[in-house]
């Protein structure tokens, strides 16, 4: 094993990727995550915390690589996600995308192994900087503006983080990245609130979530797969590291789990449906972190692990549909199962996993968070999460496969996607099944030692009841034609504030300012013109100043002047 920070091979591969083409680049890009994973596995095998890569900037001692079980789990996950996504994108002949995605995966690895806040900040910004190119790589006007908004929000998150770090360094005298906690109010403890908010923006907290639903569906078919894996999971890791047991997170998480499912039901762009369901899944993780017991934290990070894989699988299957048909709106798709049977089956495996069907990966991790919620007395939160579980089955488990592959046959020309896409989806599907059937493999990697058995009669029965009756609701609504049809539309969300309200307000303000400015200018010009005209009018023929003076009146004037001198002389 080598004591090399895991991001370095990715960055080197990205640099080489600028010059390599074809199979050489393919081999290099596949080798990096495979070798990196093996190396990290050997490094982590000791079980103890590892650190290396000390360096100093100004007076701060910084640490490039620090690993414990929590960061190692995310490290393994990101290598696996990078491998799957790289294979999925092998057919892409776009150097910009290929290089940006390697840099992006490397930045995520840099962030989870950062030993101090300043190193974290550097990779935090690199994540934004590298990933925005995956959005712009679509090269459409919509992608360009969505990318700009995405980038702006992430830079804002980075600035908040930097501000928080400065305050934190002043009060604590150290920049080590560990438990921060949310004690006191904003004014007493600005550092921890600023860092919390910075993490929250990247984690798509409510009101800050629209960068995700805005930018991800605008990226390329392959770019979205990368995007869905890294950014939000780095935020989940950071929250789990710095704010475990923060009660506020329980309520934020419950909100995140709940509200996106309403949007997902009426959204037409199927990749945007998945983006909303990504927020919904993040909600489960955030609740777990907020509860903060060892079961809850384990559940949160295990769910993050599974989510990257099954959500990646769903994004890959929808990416394949978009790649092959050029369409992604539910209203334009349907009946693809005939022409894309393999993609259909793989998509259904992803859908079953996200819905937490027994024997699929979602089941073994989501139930940990749910159990933790009920064990710690969060009854209402538990009910909300249960509703969210039924809802996620409804929109991600049924809606995605149904409207893409079944429903009415749109008779689109289609075929199976390229082999590399199918291989990548198959790897992800296999992982979903392996983890679902043999959860101990994942449990042994979790940060805390626990004995948790997801497969008992109660869990399996209740989950099946919940899911089958959710499906029954879908069937009933569909047969009665009560299910909302897929309509080409835009649904207003918080983004309306900065995409419509503020621009409109600014436009109105500036229009009014320009009008006022115009009026002032024309008034001034008019005034000057009148003045000139007035002066000129006295100098024109017959004007007072242009008249000839009579000799008599001049003599009278001289007499007057002399008279005044005479008076002055007397005084």
């Amino acid at each position: 094993m080598f004591e090399v920070a895991p991001f370095i091979p990715f960055f080197i591969a990205a640099a080489l990727g600028l010059f390599l083409r074809g199979w050489m680049r393919a081999v290099l890009f596949i080798a990096v995550p495979v070798v990196g994973l093996a190396n990290l596995w050997l490094l982590g095998a000791g079980g103890a915390a590892i650190e290396f890569g000390h360096y100093a900037i100004l007076d701060f001692n910084l640490l490039l690589f620090k690993a414990d079980k929590l960061s190692l789990l995310f490290g393994y996950l990101f290598h696996i996600a990078a491998l799957i996504s790289v294979i999925y994108a092998l057919h892409v002949r776009d150097t910009l995308q290929q290089v940006a995605s390697m840099l992006y995966a490397g930045s995520a690895l840099g962030a989870v192994f950062a030993g101090d806040l300043l190193t974290l900040f550097i990779f935090w910004e690199l994540l934004a900087l590298t990933s925005v190119f995956l959005v712009w790589a679509r090269r459409s006007g919509r992608a360009y503006v969505a990318g700009l908004r995405y980038f702006t929000l992430h830079i804002l998150s980075g600035l908040l983080l930097l501000g928080g770090i400065i305050f934190y360094g002043q009060t604590h005298g150290t920049l080590e990245f560990g438990q921060i906690g949310l004690d006191g109010n904003v004014l007493d403890n600005p550092a921890s609130w600023m860092i919390f908010l910075a993490f929250g923006i990247k984690c798509a907290f409510p009101f800050f979530h629209n960068w995700l639903t805005d930018a991800y569906p605008e990226s390329t078919p392959t770019g979205t797969v990368f995007l869905s894996a890294f950014t939000t999971k780095v935020a989940v890791y950071a929250l789990a590291r710095a704010y475990p047991g923060t009660e506020l997170l329980v309520y934020i998480g419950a909100t995140m789990a709940c509200f996106p499912i309403f949007y997902a039901v009426i959204e037409n762009d199927l990749r945007r449906v998945l983006a909303y369901s990504l927020i919904n899944q993040l909600g489960f993780m955030v609740v777990g972190i907020g509860i903060g017991t060892s079961l809850a934290i384990n559940g949160a990070v295990a769910h993050a692990f599974n989510d990257v894989i099954f959500k990646g699988l769903l994004f890959m299957s929808m990416g394949a549909v978009l790649h092959v048909t050029g369409k992604i709106n539910g209203s334009e798709l349907g009946g693809l199962y005939k022409k894309m049977p393999k993609t259909t089956v793989l998509c259904i495996i992803g859908a079953a996993s996200i819905s937490a069907f027994p024997l699929f990966s979602g089941f073994v991790s989501k139930s940990m968070v749910m159990s933790a919620a009920i064990k710690n007395g969060y009854d209402w939160v538990w009910l909300i999460l249960l509703f969210a579980s039924a809802g996620v089955f409804h929109h991600a488990g049924i809606k995605i496969p149904y409207f893409a592959f079944f429903a009415h046959d749109a008779k689109l020309p289609a075929r199976e996607p390229p082999v590399n896409m199918l291989i990548a989806m198959s790897i992800a599907a296999a992982l979903c099944l392996v983890i679902g059937i043999y959860p101990q493999a994942l449990y042994s990697l979790l940060p805390y030692e626990i004995s948790y058995t997801p497969y008992d009669v109660t869990h399996v029965l209740t989950q099946l009841q919940l899911l089958f009756f959710s499906a029954l609701a879908f069937v009933w609504l569909n047969l009665r034609h009560l299910y909302p049809p897929e309509l080409p539309s835009v649904n207003l969300d918080v983004e309306w504030i900065y995409r419509r309200l503020v621009p409109d307000a600014l436009r109105g303000l500036f229009n009014r300012l320009f009008a006022l400015d115009n009026r002032l200018r024309s008034a001034a010009v008019g005034g000057v013109a009148r003045l000139v005209e007035g002066v000129a009018s006295h100098h024109r023929a017959d004007g007072i100043m242009a008249r000839n003076w009579l000799t008599g009146s001049m003599v009278a004037g001289v007499v007057l002047l002399l008279g005044i001198y005479l008076i002055l002389g007397w005084l």
């Binding site: 459409s140 309403f262 259909t344 029954l472």
Partner: protein
């Protein structure tokens, strides 16, 4: 699932049979509540039929609420685009011409990406 047989879902009889199997499974799952003793931790959770009813009612409410949300949230598909993309195309100073000249509709899969 149905990959091997091209027209499995085209035949209404197949769908009816599948739905019948599905209804039977639902009924069995509901009945299981009265047979299997579940360990419960939450006060309503022990009621027979709690999970099936919660799942069904929850989803129906979800769909009706979402439909109702459409009445005030839904806008035409080009609601944002018609202004944002117009601004973009009028603005020549940013060197974004190359980006915006390409297709601006929703269904770009990127010709350069195809093998």
């Amino acid at each position: 699932m149905s990959g091997e047989k091209q027209d499995f879902f085209d035949n209404p009889n197949n769908i009816h049979n599948m739905l019948r199997v599905f209804y039977v499974i639902c009924a069995l799952l509901f009945a299981a509540d009265f047979v299997v003793h579940r360990h419960t931790e939450f006060r309503f959770e022990g009621l027979p039929g709690f999970y099936p009813i919660y799942g069904f009612v929850g989803c129906v409410i979800l769909v009706f609420a979402a439909k109702w949300m459409r009445t005030f949230l839904m806008r035409p598909e080009d609601y944002y685009d018609k202004r944002e993309l117009t601004d973009l195309n009028n603005d020549d100073s940013d060197g974004i011409d190359a980006l915006s000249h390409e297709d601006t509709n929703t269904s770009v899969s990127g010709g350069h990406q195809r093998v």
